[in-house]
Structure formats: structure tokens, C-alpha cells
Subunit: 96 residues, 10 copies
């Protein structure tokens, strides 16, 4: 099932630069792994903001929470979660 | 280029039922035509609301406005438009 | 899986009283049927408002949307949907 | 009587990690004790957020405040309290 | 127990003047009866608005909802309910 | 004349604990003195929040500001002030 | 004492034009009478909106409410009231 | 001097179609006249909304209000006005 | 021309007390100088808040920005600016 | 294509003054370079705020994000991006 997540990153100004860079690298690696597994189905940057729009394909809200709360930047992100379902006018079989 | 659009439909209670049904049919037909053309790339229903989350692939903001303002339900919808771009961590070539 | 839904009813002042009463009766009947089936797991009135807090136990967001959009008062209600999951401190096995 | 409480946790980034871990353990222990006593009737995680939705069964608003303000994480939480009552369509005797 | 209620009245412009006047009279009578019974403990007009701040002394949230939802103007009012309790610095015995 | 004030306390996490305790004691003493003088007419805790609802009986807005701005916790509080007046339906002579 | 009031006028589209014109004339007359009496001390149009910023010099919140609620357009206006007092840096004796 | 204005048009659904078309024609004519005179310096459509972003070059706030309040669609528009001034980093002489 | 400005002061808790006192003194001196020059036409304290409502009489938005941005507390203040103009019902010649 | 961007700068109070001055200088230089290249088409100061209204002429949302995210003050700015298109009533050929 699909969930739409808008993530906004707020790194505190006093965060150590090396620590921030390491977190971003880990975040990228985990994000790409989840994309390869088909869990993180879409990922777009919002133009002009340190934020993204994502669509996750998970087994349940618990699965979604498990995935999101393990992200290295989780404690620095605000998440807005919206449950999606297939639209009656959609012609794409897998946009369920 | 991609734009994220959240559309919420607000049909006035006094709208004639037959007129409403006709508008929805026309909206569905035009939506499916735009999906076949690749312009309306994604379309999901937001669970519990008469609203959708969509991603459009257009040539410009002007093209986007032209598409949206021709929708049969346009005058009854609130649109929230967000410009998207490729995310540095994305592994999908066409989620540009 | 569980979804938290806050529903607020806004009946237009010009709605015919008999029609409103009939809709409320149908809404009540369908709500009680869904409660008996275990789909509408909790239902509470918010004190002082024509609104309720509910918890639904459904198979998917699509199932949730199907249930909510068939409610007789659906077109007169504002819905706020939140995906829930089991809390790490919960001691209740079925509050999953 | 029942009160609906949405709690959001905001731990300051500079909080010592050991202190944070200790507070969370104490919070969990007190939460489970209150659940066993029937005071903290429901507890769900909100998917994707460090937040929960809870329902408390207390004797009065004063009792509710006493319970909430003793939580180890109280000073780091934002609470939104809503008074609930039995819904006219409810079929559950104890969802008073 | 005490609940703080802010009520704002929104009479639709098309409401018949005689009907509006009758509703206001009934509202006033019921309000004064509830004040005499000690249920509607405080009632103040908010300067410059068709709105009031009230404090109710009731037995439960259900009692509060019962009282509020029977008010003749209930369907035309927006209610904001806040549960109160005795303040640790209060010197008034009955501001419980 | 009466003013309704909702005060929310936001103590910064880095505030020294002894200093915070001293401020709260001074606040309590001043609050009780003002209650005895009849200036701070009502004081209630908002259940679940470090906040209160108060009603002040003062000679003017200037008097109100003088009282509020001398409170020991003033710099850590957010104040929302509303001017009240006697309600046409009130039966209490002194709820002017 | 002084109160700052921001008034926004919302005439319903279905209001009869002659009736609207008559109300505006009465509003103007009453406003000018109150200005001559020194009660309506300042009156400015907000550029680009059917709204004004005003300062009233009244004896009490009750006096303010009495003045505002008698305005011919009162039922079509949203009022935002703020209590003012003399500023410690002011050099004008009568801006009390 | 320059003012930034965001205008959103809200035509009531019951407005007669011929009347709406005539108002839009008059609005367009007046807008183009003001552009030719240099008063309405910039005019852009906001993609996906019946709204525009404009920059006006006027002699005073009074001049701005005079221009805006004469627009044929004025009573159906929400205006958000922001005063602009030359930016210290600007290299354009006339963006004062 | 006149601009309405609501200023709210937010001094960071860690600001040195002597530095804060010095800034306030400089602010007061500059404010009184601007009042004497007729630029800062009105200045009122908002009751209960560290905030003021002011009316400035300046030559242009650029002049306004120049005045406001030189205030010693500027970096600690939130400013809300509204352009004013003479109201059609005003009887005061200089409330232009 | 054109994008409207409102930028608000929030420098943390603890930022070193020399560092802040250097960042502002770099920001100014980059802004002027982008203006000369025609990418940063308009730049206005919002009167009374450390904020600007800008219009960018870019090739795509990705181009816009690239430009904005390289600004020296980017991490201290809140950006609000709006896609613009040519207005049907515009008489300027290049306000596309």
C-alpha cells in the first residue's frame, strides 16, 4: 500500500559539519537501498527547499513507521504522512 | 518537468446532480486522455477525502496552467502546486 | 491496520429537515453495522461539537476510503485521517 | 470519563543521550503501569512521527492533569486534550 | 468539574428575522435557567464580537455535551471546549 | 473592568533548575497577593498544559499591562488578552 | 482608554444593492458622529481591502461593545479588538 | 513607489455567466489600460490558480487603493498587499 | 504617507542583560527622536505583550524600511507592515 | 520560465558577526552575477523585513533549485516558491 510523505530537514545550526556530512551519506545509502527494494517508490526534491516528496510502498503503517524512524536524519526531519489509494480514473495498474 | 499538484474538489451543495455527474464523467475522460499522453504522470486518491495527489510532466508552468484550467471541474477545485526536481539520492532515471 | 479519523459534520442550513433526519438515520445504521463487523472499532463524540473521533480497523487505505466514502453523510463531512501503528510501550495485544 | 490526548515529543538536540534514554525508560514504565491500572486506556503511535494518540479514563480533568504532568517526558511534550463522550451511534457499552 | 467554552454565533444572512429573534429569546431563557442551576457558572460577552466566554460546572463531558447541544442556537455556533482544573496557586476554594 | 488572559509558560530547557524554582515561588506569591486584592479574579489550570486561563479585574488596559509585566515569569510567558464585558443574558450582578 | 480595532467588511453577494447603499450611508453618518464625539479617535482605510484600522477612546470594554455592536454594518463585519496602553517611549501626552 | 499585490478571484457559483463574462472583459480592458500607463507594472498568472501576482507603481497607498478598488472584479477578489523598496543588491536602476 | 506597523520584540534568553538594557535605551532614544520629527506618528503598547502598534508618516516604503531597519532592536523584532490611506468617512484632515 | 520566490533570512543570534558579514558579501556578489546573467530577473526588498521578493527566469525547476541552493545564505533562508506563467491580460511580451 502507498503512503505519501513530505519530509523537511531542519539541521540545527550548531551540528558539527563532519557529523552532518556523515549523516547525509548514511541517509543517501539507506534511501537508495530502500529504492532498490521497491519500498521507497518515488523520491523528488522540492525546488528551493531542503525537503522532498516521497511515495512509499509498504505492508502496513507499522512497516512505514519502522522504515521512516530508522532513517539517519529522522530526528532532524518533520514528516507529513498521507494515506493514498487507487484513484477511480487512474489507468496505471500499479498505482494502487 | 514535474509538478506536484494536490487537488481538492468542493462541489457546491446546490449543484444539479445530473450536471455534477456529467462534469465528473468529462473530468474522468480528460484525465485518462492526459494520462495516456504522459502529461498526467501519477494520480492517487487521498484516503477519506474527495481529493487527489497528482504529478504532471509538462513543458512549462504555462503548459501546466493550460492543462489544469481546462479540467471540467477546475472551477470547483482548490489546487496546490509544487515544483519538483530530481533528488540527488534518486536511483530512477526518469524521476527527473 | 488502524486509522484514526476525526469527522466533522457540516450540514448546510438550507438542507431539508426531513432529508437531514433520514440521512442521519442511515448514517447511524451503517455505522452500527460497521461496528458489529469490527471495521469501525471505536467511535466517540467530541464534547460540544457535531464531530467524532473514530478508529477504523481496515485491510488497506483503499478499504478505508471505500468505507468512508459510502457513509450517507460523507459529502457533508470533513475527514482528517491519521495512520496509526502499535506503540512500543503498549501492553494491549490488539492495539496493533 | 474519557479524554483524547495527542502527545508530540520534542527532545532538544542538546539533551544528553544517556539522560534521554533514561527518561524514555521511565516514561515507558510509568505508561505501562497506568495502562495496567486502566487509566491509560489506549496508546497508539502516529506513523512517521515521534508522537502518539492516547485515550485516558480518569475521574476528572484534575486527575488527567495530575497523570499527564507527572510523565517523565512532560516538559518535552506538546499535549492536545479533547474531552470525549459516548456517541449516540456507538454499540460499545464501555466507550462511555 | 469545570469546562471553559468559547462560543461564536454565526447566523446565516438568509435566516428569517422573526425566527432569529425567537431563537435568541429561547437561548436567553435556557441560559438563565442553567445559570440559576449553577451549571453555567460564568458568562461574559467578548467585546466587539457576537461571541462569549463561558465556564460550565458539569458532572462529566457527556453532561457538558448534553447541555451545549440542547442550546437553541447550537447549530449556528462554533464551540471551543477546554478542560480546566484547580490551579496550584489559586486561593479560591470553589475554583476547583 | 474584566480581561480574559490565557497564559502559556515556556521555560527554556537551559534555564537553571534552582533559578526556575525560585521564579515559580515568586510567581505563586505574587499571584496569590493579586488574588487577595481582587485584581486576579479567576485562575484555572488548563488540563494537560503548563498554561492557565485567568480573568483580571483592573482599572484600565494600562493597569492590566502593569500587573502582567511585573509577573516574575512574564518574559517566559505568551499572553493572549481578550476584553470582556457583561453579557445581556447574565444573571450575576458582578460579572460586569 | 484606547482599543485598536481592525474591521473587515464582508457583504454577502446576494445583498440587495439599494439596501447595501443605505447601510453604508448610515454607517458613515454614525462613524462621523462618533468621530466628532471623540469616541472613534482614528480611522484609516487599509490599502487594497474593504477594511479599516481604527482606534477607539472609550470608558470601558462594555462601552466599546455598545458602540461597535450598534454600527449598521456590524453583522457583516469581522472585528479584531486589541487593548492598548501608553508606551513607555511615547512623547505624546494623550496617546495614553 | 512599488507595491506587490497577490489577487485571488472567487466568483460565487450563482453568478450569472453572461455577467461574469462581461466583468472579466471589463477587468481585462482596465488592466491593459493601467499597464499601458505604467501603473500596473507587472502581471503574472499563478500556475494552477485563478490568481495573479502583480507589481504596481503608484504615487501613494491612496493611489493604490483607488486603482484596486475600481477594478470591475474588486468585490470578488482577495488582495494581499506588500510594500516593496529597492534592494541593496539590485543592479536594476528602475526596480526602486 | 502612513504605514501601520505592529512590532513584537523577541529577545533571546541568552542575551547579556547589560547588552539588552543598553539596546532598549538606544531604542527609546531613537524612537523619541523619530516621534519629535513627526516620522513615528503614533506609538502604543499592546496590553500584556512585549509589542507595540505604531503608525509611521514617511515619504515612501524605502524611507519606512530605512527607519525600521536602523532601530537598535530591529534584529530582535518581528514587523508586520500595512499600508494605510485616508478613509472616506474620516473627518480628520491629517489622517491622510 | 518564471518562478516567484519570497526569501526570508533568519540568521541565528549566535552566528559570528564577521562570518555573517562575509556571507552577506558573498550573497550580494552572487546575486548581482545572477542578475547580470538574466537569471535573477527581479529583486525587491520587503519594507520592514529582512526578506525579499524575487522573480527568477530559469530553464527548469532543477535549474531553479540549483541556483537557490548555492546561495551563500541558503541554509539560513526560508523560501516560498510559486510557478508563474503569462497572464492572458498582460501586454508585456517578455513577462512570459
Amino acid at each position: 500500500m502507498l503512503f505519501h510523505v513530505e519530509m523537511t530537514v531542519n539541521l540545527p545550526p550548531q551540528l558539527d559539519a563532519a557529523r552532518a556530512a556523515a549523516l547525509k551519506e548514511e541517509e543517501k545509502a539507506m534511501s537508495q537501498q530502500l529504492q532498490r527494494e521497491g519500498v521507497w517508490r518515488h523520491l523528488w526534491r522540492i525546488a528551493g527547499r531542503y525537503a522532498n516528496v516521497s511515495v512509499f510502498d509498504v505492508e502496513s503503517p507499522a512497516h512505514l513507521h519502522d522504515v521512516l524512524s530508522r532513517l539517519p536524519l529522522f530526528q532532524y526531519m518533520t514528516m507529513e504522512v498521507t494515506a493514498l489509494c487507487r484513484h477511480g480514473s487512474s489507468i496505471r495498474a500499479n498505482d494502487q
